[in-house]
């Protein structure tokens, strides 16, 4: 991903324009009785202007040498893993989902040997379960294992 160029800033600018239009649709009201869209509209304008300044600045600046995008697949993979954790935790239960998430992190991302990853994931998931569910009384979903 181009992290130094103007690509992400153009996305920010587009977001500001879309939000500004949506805020206007909500109703700006008047200065004496500002409507629901008044405050978001002001901020969308502010965001749009700052994004525009940054886009112009980025166009005038040389690209940062040596910027690497090689970590992106891993970063997105881990973030997707966290999101999947949220979706699955109520179906599979806390201990099993946690074990699978940790296993994924250690095997795929950290590239640890499978047997070590299984041991680490099992020990960490069990410790987290004992700490949060049993010791601190945090209500966690039991799911398939019924724990």
């Amino acid at each position: 991903m181009d992290t130094r160029g103007s690509g992400p800033l153009l996305v920010l600018l587009a977001f500001a324009l879309a939000t500004g239009a949506a805020a206007q649709h909500l109703g700006l009201g008047s200065l004496s009785t500002p409507g629901p869209g008044f405050f978001p509209f002001l901020n969308a304008v502010g965001l749009g202007l700052t994004a525009l300044v940054l886009v112009v600045q980025a166009r005038h600046r040389a690209r940062h040498a040596g910027e690497s995008g090689s970590a992106w697949p891993i970063v997105l993979g881990v973030a997707a893993g966290i999101a999947a954790y949220g979706i699955l935790v109520e179906h599979l239960g806390f201990p099993l989902t946690s074990f699978l998430f940790l296993l994924l992190c250690w095997v795929v991302v950290a590239r640890q040997p499978v047997w070590r990853s299984v041991m680490l994931a099992a020990a960490t998931a069990a410790t987290a379960y004992l700490l949060f569910d049993r010791l601190l009384g945090v209500r966690l979903p039991s799911g398939l294992l019924g724990l």
């Binding site: 502010g46 970063v75 979706i87």
Partner: protein, 495 residues
Amino acid sequence: MTEILDGIVYGFSVSLSPGNLLACFIGVLMGTIVGVLPGIGPIVTMSLLLPIIMRIDATTGIIAMAGVFYGAMYGGSTTSILLNLPGEAASVVTCLDGHEMAKRGRAGPALAIAAIGSFVAGTLGVVLLTFLAPPFATMALAVGPPELTAILVLSFIIVMQFSGGSRVRAAAAAFLGFLLASIGLDPVEASPRFTFNTYTLLDGIGFGPLVIGLFGVAEMLSNLDTRWRPVAALPPIHGLWPTADDLRTAAPAIARGGLIGFFLGILPGMGASIPAFVSYSVERRLSKHPERFGQGAIEGVAAPESANNAATAGNLVPLLTLGIAPSAATAILMAGFLTHGVTPGPLLIQERPEIFWGVVTSMYTGNVILLILNLPLVAVWVRLLMIPQVYLVPPVLLVCAVGTYSVATNPWDVVVMAAFGILGYVMRKLDFPPVPLVLAFVLGRIFEEALRQSLSMSLGSFTIFLTRPIALVMLLATLAVLVLPLVSTRGRWPR
């Protein structure tokens, strides 16, 4: 004065009860640990405590969270001095002279002076908080929507000016924070905004998923970039105690750092990092030998470490008296209050004195515990750095997910947290500071309500901000914050 002394006595009776003492100990211990470990700061730790403190007494929970906040300032200096690796942002400037001292075989005195300075200035800050917060709370009752609007404008301008890096990026982050805060019901008319006709978004975006994603998950994702490289070798620590000459040199820096830290910490947006930088800069300007700074000057360690600890007490003044969170960490502390249905502000002292005085006096005890924990146990904290990151990142991500889920037992909060993790990662890559976004998100609804009420009061005239004395002073201060750095960069700043 009698009321304050009575309050202190009452506060100690609350904070020294076994449960609260234990909460204070656990809080400062956790603070020290997360301060030592780079990547897991007090903001994330305090966020993760939210679901736990919901289940315990309000005073006990807030004491523990506050302990994490100021405890992290102590822990942060250890890695700055030994590894040139700040454990948290407020310890960045300590690296300059602290690590130089360590390289010259004086790691022990550097660590000791950081702990002593932190203790003395931290305690000074708490004394000032004790005596200044009650009169502040009385004055705060005179603050109406126009004054509040002007105070918040000043806060955001300060944050943008001093958050480090590009001011335009800081402003963009703040605008984005305001827009995110707009999601949900309109605070004045209660009509839905940006909810896409979904029930889930009516309550807006949760603070927990946002802050844990932006700070905790994003930090861990950034660690993936570094390929989990091992920590560098530690310099040896010979003799912990500073010489009499060291103490004589450091004492004025500690006193000045404490005062600068506290009073700057009161200003919204300052946090603990800016006071640390300012006090370091002041010491260098006042020194007869400014060339020693950056070469292992002990004042260069004493001043910022004193300032960042005193600033944590200063940060609590606007929170406890105005109900305004002046930094990301205090915003989480405010969330801790709100989870118990307690609104911090001018009436807190009268309505919930056990919380106000209990928390304030627990900070005296906490500073003593921190001194005991930090000096003799420095070798233990250093060992924490030996844990390879490969073993830390997955469990921390799991704790982030559990912490987020358990606040409202809503699995979608974890998905939202992951999305903010990506946003936080992108912001780091693009050099956008996350603090203005969080502060704008926290204060956005209060700001909008105050602005709209002010305009309604004045029938749409902005002169209302110029005709009310407190609002006018705040706007003049805003102008000064905007203009003075420009004068300074042109070489006309008064020395």
